[in-house]
């Protein structure tokens, strides 16, 4: 489904991402983990077209999407739930969800998806007409995910969905990710909470200083020595 090949992202002379390759198959939940500054968010930004790619390409169902504008990439079927949620605080919950469906023609199927989103996240139904800025952090994360789903993406990119949330809410977010996967949504999950991410996902890619340093299923990765070092970057690359 999503095929990233030899992707390189550069900011000036600094390479944030160096020739990384990975695939996300239809219906899969794939995780990218790694310490701060490993290039996780840059990878997602390159897929979405919000930063230019220096080399390599991103394919969605064998069509190259690299170099397209973000709005065109959304239209093609990739949606991002960004780090920090970035919900529209001055808009109502209803308007935020409508924004998520910007690429679709308004109509019955959008309406059905709205209902589905609110069944999935009941808090959103309760505050449907309220300003989204007044929701709690956890509710805002639910809204951000629901907004991402409203475009009916073929691949949903989740950037640090658990960041800054209380432990109880973190668990809730992970549960909803599992539920999404069970519903057949293809997901690329970026997480600092590596242990949980590895547990939940079909495959995990471990990123450090812009490179894939390990990959595989939870079992395969468990066999790798020095796991904590890989996840957390305890030993800095020299």
């Amino acid at each position: 489904m999503l095929d990233v090949r030899d992707l390189t992202v550069q900011y000036g002379r600094i390479s944030a991402v160096r020739q990384i390759s990975f695939v996300v198959g239809t219906g899969e939940l794939v995780a990218i983990v790694g310490p701060n500054g490993a290039g996780k968010t840059s990878t997602l930004a390159a897929i979405m077209g919000t930063v230019p790619t220096a080399a390599g390409e991103v394919r969605l169902d064998d069509l190259v999407i690299t170099g397209s504008a973000p709005e065109a990439i959304v239209r093609r079927g990739v949606a991002l739930v960004p780090e920090g949620r970035r919900i529209f605080g001055s808009l109502t919950v209803a308007e935020n969800l409508a924004m998520g469906a910007s690429v679709r023609r308004p109509g019955r199927s959008v309406q059905e998806d709205l209902e589905r989103a609110m069944d999935r996240f009941p808090a959103l139904r309760r505050c449907y007409r309220e300003a989204a800025g007044r929701l709690s952090g956890g509710e805002q994360q639910m809204l951000a995910i629901a907004r991402g789903l409203m475009s009916r993406p073929r691949v949903l990119l989740l950037d640090e969905p658990s960041l800054g949330l209380a432990p109880l809410l973190v668990e809730e977010v992970f549960e909803s990710i599992v539920a999404l996967r069970q519903d057949g949504v293809t997901i690329l999950l970026v997480e600092q909470n590596a242990h949980r991410a590895v547990e939940l996902s079909d495959r995990t890619y471990v990123l450090r200083t812009g490179q894939v340093v390990a990959s595989g299923t939870a079992d395969e990765l468990a066999g790798t020595a020095d796991l904590a070092a890989l996840y957390l970057g305890v030993h800095e690359a020299r």
Binding site: T50, P70, E71, V74, G89, L91, E95, P106, S151
Partner: protein
């Protein structure tokens, strides 16, 4: 009582003009983080369209003015501002100055520097009397037109799909694009709306003074920018509030200043603006998009 009511009417009239100037500036700033000083030249272009079409029926004058100014606003966006989109605030500001001076000088070449006059309809010169109050028809037209434009804009922004997309883009442009909203379309619509506002402003200004010059856009843009900043730059409600506050302050100063200082009214006005900004640097309403995001 009568003089109080008269002052209220004057303040509302002046405030309507300022709100109209401020809205155009706040709208573009909200979406693009660009303070468009060339908004003044859009107003000037509107006034010259009125001058060229003054023999037409007034309804056609209005249509022609709005069409010409909207077209110019869109052209301005496409040619000058699109290439520098997303650049630093300084780059955008300099570009807007460049566009402003270019259009001023272009107008100077076409229309020469001689001030022109235009007379659209005798209605603009008439007034009516209620009790001891003298109200000019132009005041009524200015207040009502501005109110109508503001209500339409509010309905558009709150009730339509496109309007919601524009509000979202004003808060977080990048995220709006990540929801699939085309950047070019949203910005073009913002410029088109600012063109409508500037066209109407130009028309009302010609109606008010009967004269026009190539530099006539400078004062409106300065007052509009000031009103937008007082209101909280980027907030549309703030811009309107700022406009009416500035209008009220103008009339208030007119009244309390001794006759010999009356000519320096704007000096006192802007001193008050300085004081206000020192006390409340964010303006009356802080725009959401400008807050730091965590």
């Amino acid at each position: 009582m009568t003089s109080f009511l008269q002052n209220v009417i004057d303040a509302l009239t002046a405030g309507s003009y300022y709100a109209l100037f401020a809205l155009g500036i706040a709208l573009i700033f909200g979406i693009m983080r660009l303070v468009n000083f060339a908004q003044g030249e859009l107003i000037m272009a509107g006034a010259y369209t009125v001058y060229l079409t003054q023999d037409w029926p007034w309804a056609l004058i209005v249509v022609a003015t709005v069409v010409v100014v909207v077209a110019l606003a869109l052209l301005m966006e496409r040619v000058a501002f699109r290439p520098v989109r997303g650049r630093s605030a300084a780059t955008l500001l300099i570009t807007s100055f460049a566009v402003s001076f270019f259009l001023q000088n272009l107008a100077r070449m076409v229309f020469t520097t001689l001030p022109k006059s235009a007379d659209i309809t005798p209605l603009f010169r008439r007034s009516f009397v209620i009790g001891d109050l003298t109200i000019s028809w132009l005041s009524v037209i200015a207040v009502c037109t501005t109110a109508l434009l503001m209500v339409s804009l509010a309905l558009f922004l709150n009730r339509t799909r496109l309007g919601v997309q524009m509000r979202a883009a004003a808060e977080d442009f990048g995220m709006a694009r990540l929801c699939g909203v085309p950047a070019n379309r949203v910005i073009a619509i913002a410029f088109a709306i600012s063109g409508v506002l500037a066209g109407i402003a130009g028309l009302l200004l010609v109606g008010q003074t009967g004269s026009l010059s190539v530099t006539m856009g400078l004062t409106p843009v300065l007052f509009g920018f000031t009103a937008a900043v007082i209101g909280g730059l980027g907030s549309l409600t703030g811009a309107v509030l700022g406009g009416y506050l500035l209008g009220a302050a103008t009339v208030f100063l007119q009244n309390i200043l001794p006759f010999e200082l009356g000519g320096y009214r704007d000096a006192f006005l802007f001193a008050a603006v300085f004081a206000f900004m020192a006390l409340r640097p964010g303006g009356l309403l802080r725009a959401v998009g400008l807050e730091e995001r965590v």
